[in-house]
Symmetry: none
Subunit: 228 residues, 2 copies
DNA sequence: ACATAACTTCATGATTTTATAATATATAAT
DNA sequence: ATTATATATTATAAAATCATGAAGTTATGT
């Protein structure tokens, strides 16, 4: 996963700091979202689902430590990274924050260069992973998750019927390889099922209608192939 | 994985510090090994295969930054945690260390309490891996307490029959994953029990009646999945 | 032993998926 | 350009699948 695929949420009640940090991380390539308070942050986070949170401690309504605790309770954020960035001194606060589930506790003031290096160090393990989604296969604009039985085009989920999904699954096992209709029938329908050749065409048509027609190419007289 | 299963290697050329840190981490339950220099550390590490390294920077023969680089080159230590603990000031060193692959850079002097919290925070993800099955899981509106055998929807307790609870538990082990009826029967009923497929449908229906129908989705011809 | 709850199976109708046939369009060969 | 052939598209009938209600069966607690 690249930095461009990583979503960072910065929570601080001082607009200047928000802007400053956003700028620094956006320049690194991260996707950045901001919030000015813990409450606001939590409700945005439920939708935005950040990979990394950068939290101030002292904020109106809900402070950073509370937010951290609340995030860690939720299944969605079990694997998210949480870093505090604060001017608040005191070892007890730091211990509390770390014991609560924070991954780093960064003291202000800090040089941008150092800050960015720390953030990069935190996200390094996420970046090393191949895909966003465990078990998902990535074909450019198209992501296929076999376990979830789900296909995403440009991040948008597309509902496929079973045969459509299985046809797509077969074709994507070997991108570029041409599958004859007979081979498709054997592998998707099974050797004992008797189905007319043209049926494959209809399913290809339906697939194209849903995922777009650029992925599946027809080779006249031969069969179909998947490319991306 | 528990702390007792985690091997930590501390590398510092001052015996007092080695002893001090060893004591602190051993008391936490970690297995601790020490070395006084980068060279020595590397050769021991090849056999000992630590999960976490705590490195001083200034040492004779091979310094901490060199050692870090050398470790990261080796396949064995790709996933190991590396933390620097040093009195050396200077942002450039910190940036260099972090960019080289270090996971944390801790400044001396530091209180033992804070040091231990930071180390615990670093190893948390390793420790979490297998301890995850018990306790409560939070899926937004739905909270499932596996130990208490209790489900709450918007804070209100809901009484589930055993099969209903176990079905929900299975589905929530992997939110998003599609479970076929056969898989559900095998995992909830057991492989030797003979029950008709449709039975699963009836239990899903009862579950939906109690927790609402938005959590469990049907994939026609495939199975059911939990989403939140 | 009784009452109650939990579980399984079956039947029905609604809905979705699938296969096929019919027709239109595209492609390659002559 | 014409023809033959393969494929695309649309419509529709058939089949598969599921939600639901109800009835029968087994387990559990009092």
């Amino acid at each position: 996963m690249k930095k461009a695929d990583l979503k960072v949420m910065i929570v601080d009640d001082e607009p200047d700091i928000l802007e400053f940090l956003s700028f620094a991380l956006a320049r690194e390539g991260y996707q950045v979202e901001t919030a000015a308070d813990g409450m606001e942050a939590y409700s945005i986070a439920l939708k935005y689902q950040p990979h990394l949170f950068i939290l101030d401690i002292m904020m109106p309504q809900m402070d950073g430590v509370e937010l951290c605790a609340k995030l860690r309770e939720h299944e969605l954020f079990q694997d998210s990274l949480i870093a505090f960035l604060t001017a608040k001194s005191g070892d007890d606060t730091e211990v509390e924050a770390l014991d609560m589930g924070a991954d780093d506790y960064i003291h202000k003031p800090i040089k941008p260069k150092v800050f960015v290096s720390r953030i990069n160090a935190l996200t390094r393990r996420l970046r090393k992973k191949k895909t966003n989604d465990a078990g998902a296969k990535n074909f450019g604009r198209l992501i296929i998750n076999h376990e979830k039985f789900e296909v995403k085009l440009d991040g948008v989920a597309i509902a496929l019927a079973r045969k459509e999904f299985e046809l797509l699954r077969l074709l994507t096992t070997k991108p570029g390889k041409v599958f004859s209709r007979q081979e498709i029938l054997n592998k998707v329908w099974g050797v004992d099922v008797i189905v007319v050749d043209r049926t494959v065409d209809v399913h290809v048509r339906k697939l194209r209608g849903k995922i777009g027609s650029e992925f599946i190419k027809t080779l006249k007289g031969v069969g179909y192939k998947f490319t991306f």
